[in-house]
C-alpha cells in the first residue's frame, strides 16, 4: 500500500518533470523563432548595405543620367534632418506641455478628450496623417514642402511623446509633489523644479523613441515633402528623405541604385538602433533612480 503510493508519487513527479522540460524547450523554441526574422533582416541589411557605404554615398547627390556611378544620397540625409528636426521643434514642446497638463492638472472631460485624441492618432495609419496634411497644407501652399512633411511627422510624434511622457510623469511619486507643495512652493515651480528633473531621463527616452519613429516614416513624407534630387535646406521647398530615397531606388531595375537603397537602409537602421538603445539605457538608469 505504502510502496505503491510511493511509486505512484514518483511517477507523478517524473511526469511533471517531463512536462516541465517539454514546456521549457517549447518556450525556447518560440523565442528562437521570434529571433529568426530579426536575424534575417540584420543579415541582409548588413550584407547588402555595407558595400554601398562610401564617402561619395554620404557626400554626393544622385548622379546624372550620363554618369555611370550611382552617386550618393546626401540630399536625403540633409532632408531627413530638416524634416525630423522641424518635426521635433513642433512636437516635443507640444507633447511635453500636453503631458504635463494631463498628468499634473488634467481632470475631467477636456483631459479625457485629449487622451482620446492621442490614442486615436497613435493608431492612425501614417499614410492617413500624410494624406490629411497633404490635403490641407500642400493644397494651401500649392507646393510640396519640407514643412508639410514635418507637420505630418509631428502628427505621428506628438502622441508618442505625450503618452510616454505622461506615463513617466505619473511614475514620479506623489509624495515628492506633496513634500514640495508643503514647503510653500507654487505648483508650477514644483512641476518645473521637482517633477520634471525627477522624471528627467525618462522624458528624454520618450523623445528618442518618437524621433526613431519619425525617422523611419515613409508614406506621410511621400505625400507631403515629395522628394528631390537636390540638396534643399528651405522649409518651403520639396525635400528628399532617407526612407523616400530607399523606396524610390528599391523599385528601380538598376543594381547600382538598389545598392544605394541598401546603403540608406543600413544607415537608417543604425540610426534608429542607436536611438532605441540610448532610450533603453537611459530608462534603465532612470528606473534605478526612482526606486
Amino acid at each position: 500500500m505504502i510502496a505503491s503510493a510511493q511509486t505512484g508519487a514518483a511517477a507523478t513527479f517524473g511526469r511533471r518533470r517531463l512536462k516541465d522540460r517539454a514546456f521549457t524547450a517549447f518556450l525556447w523554441a518560440c523565442g528562437g523563432v521570434a529571433l529568426v526574422p530579426l536575424g534575417v533582416i540584420a543579415y541582409y541589411v548588413v550584407r547588402r548595405g555595407l558595400p554601398a557605404l562610401s564617402v561619395a554615398f554620404f557626400t554626393k547627390t544622385p548622379a546624372g543620367p550620363l554618369d555611370p556611378s550611382a552617386g550618393g544620397m546626401v540630399q536625403s540625409f540633409i532632408g531627413s534632418g530638416l524634416i525630423v528636426g522641424m518635426a521635433c521643434l513642433i512636437s516635443i514642446p507640444l507633447g511635453i506641455l500636453t503631458a504635463i497638463y494631463l498628468s499634473e492638472y488634467g481632470r475631467g472631460r477636456i483631459a479625457d478628450a485629449i487622451r482620446f485624441v492621442a490614442e486615436i492618432l497613435l493608431s492612425t495609419p501614417s499614410i492617413v496623417a500624410g494624406l490629411v496634411v497633404s490635403a490641407v497644407v500642400v493644397t494651401a501652399m500649392r507646393s510640396f514642402s519640407a514643412i508639410a512633411g514635418s507637420l505630418a511627422i509631428s502628427l505621428l510624434m506628438w502622441p508618442v511623446i505625450t503618452r510616454a511622457t505622461e506615463e513617466i510623469l505619473r511614475l514620479v511619486p506623489q509624495e515628492l509633489r506633496e513634500g514640495a507643495l508643503a514647503l510653500g512652493l507654487p505648483r508650477w515651480k514644483v512641476i518645473l523644479r521637482i517633477v520634471i528633473p525627477t522624471a528627467g531621463a525618462g522624458i528624454l527616452t520618450a523623445m528618442m523613441l518618437a524621433v526613431a519613429r519619425g525617422l523611419g516614416e515613409t508614406a506621410p513624407i511621400l505625400l507631403t515633402a515629395l522628394g528631390s534630387d537636390y540638396v534643399n535646406s528651405s522649409p518651403w521647398r520639396p525635400t528628399d528623405a532617407v526612407p523616400l530615397r530607399i523606396y524610390d531606388y528599391a523599385r528601380q531595375p538598376l543594381e547600382a541604385l538598389q545598392q544605394v537603397a541598401w546603403g540608406g537602409a543600413i544607415t537608417l537602421m543604425v540610426g534608429v538602433l542607436v536611438l532605441s538603445i540610448g532610450a533603453r539605457v537611459l530608462s534603465a538608469r532612470q528606473e534605478r533612480r526612482l526606486r
Binding site: 506633496e178 513634500g179 507643495l181 512652493l185 528627467g200 533612480r289
Partner: protein
Amino acid sequence: MKSLVVSDLSAWFGRKRVLRSVDMSAEPGSVTAIIGPSGCGKSTLLRCLNRMHEEVRGARAQGKVLFDGLDIYGPGVDPVDVRRRIGMVFQRPNPFPTMSIFENAVAGLRLGSKMRRAELQERAERALRASGLWEEVKDGLDEPGGKLSGGQQQRLCIARALAVEPEVLLMDEPASALDPASTLRIEELIQELKSRYNVVIVTHNMQQAARISDWTLFMLYGEVVEYAPTKKMFTTPEDRRTEDYVTGRFG
C-alpha cells in the same frame, strides 16, 4: 509663534465624509498629539491644517482654521502662503532624489526665494543642526539625499521643513518608519523644537504621545472624542472610550 484654532471643521474625500465638525486648538510652545485608531481621520485633520488636504483629487474641507486669528480657509487666502508658514513632515521620508543633502535642506529657500549662496549655506547649517543631522552629514553635503539611512532621511526632511522657518510644524507619524534609536532621536528633537515652534503631531504610539505631548486629542470615526492635557488624558480621561483606547482595550 502663532496659535491654531480649529472650529467646526469637516472634510470629505468625494462623497465620503471623514471629519465631522472637529474643534481643537494648538498653542505656541506646546506639542499637541493627535491619536486614534487607523482610519479615524488623523492624517486628514493634520492635512487640513495647512491646506494640503485639498491636493488630493476630489477632496474638500469646510469650516474654520484660525491661524493667528486669520481663517486660512477664508476668501483670498493663498494656500501657498499658508503652507509656507505652516510646515509639514510626512510619515515616509521623501527627500528629493535629484538633489544633494544641502539642496534638500534648503529646497524651499532655493526654489522659493532669491537667496545668495552664503546665506543658503548658513540656513542649511542652522536647519541641519536643529534637526540633529549636521554632525553626521557636514562632510558630505553634496552627496545625494537619497543615500542617507531612513532615520537620517527623515531628519533631512525635518531640516527641510525647518529651513523655511515656519511658525507651526505639523508631523504625521514622523517616526513610524524608523528604528527605536532614530525614533528616540526624533522625540528628543521634538522636545527641543517645542520652545520655538507650535508642534502638532499624529502618532499611533500611545507611549510616544504620553512622552512628548502637552495636549492630546483623541479621535474616533472622524470625530473628536476628547481633547485634554496629556497627563489628564492618560490618567483620568472623561470619556469611557478614551479610557478604553489609552489602556489598550480596543483599537
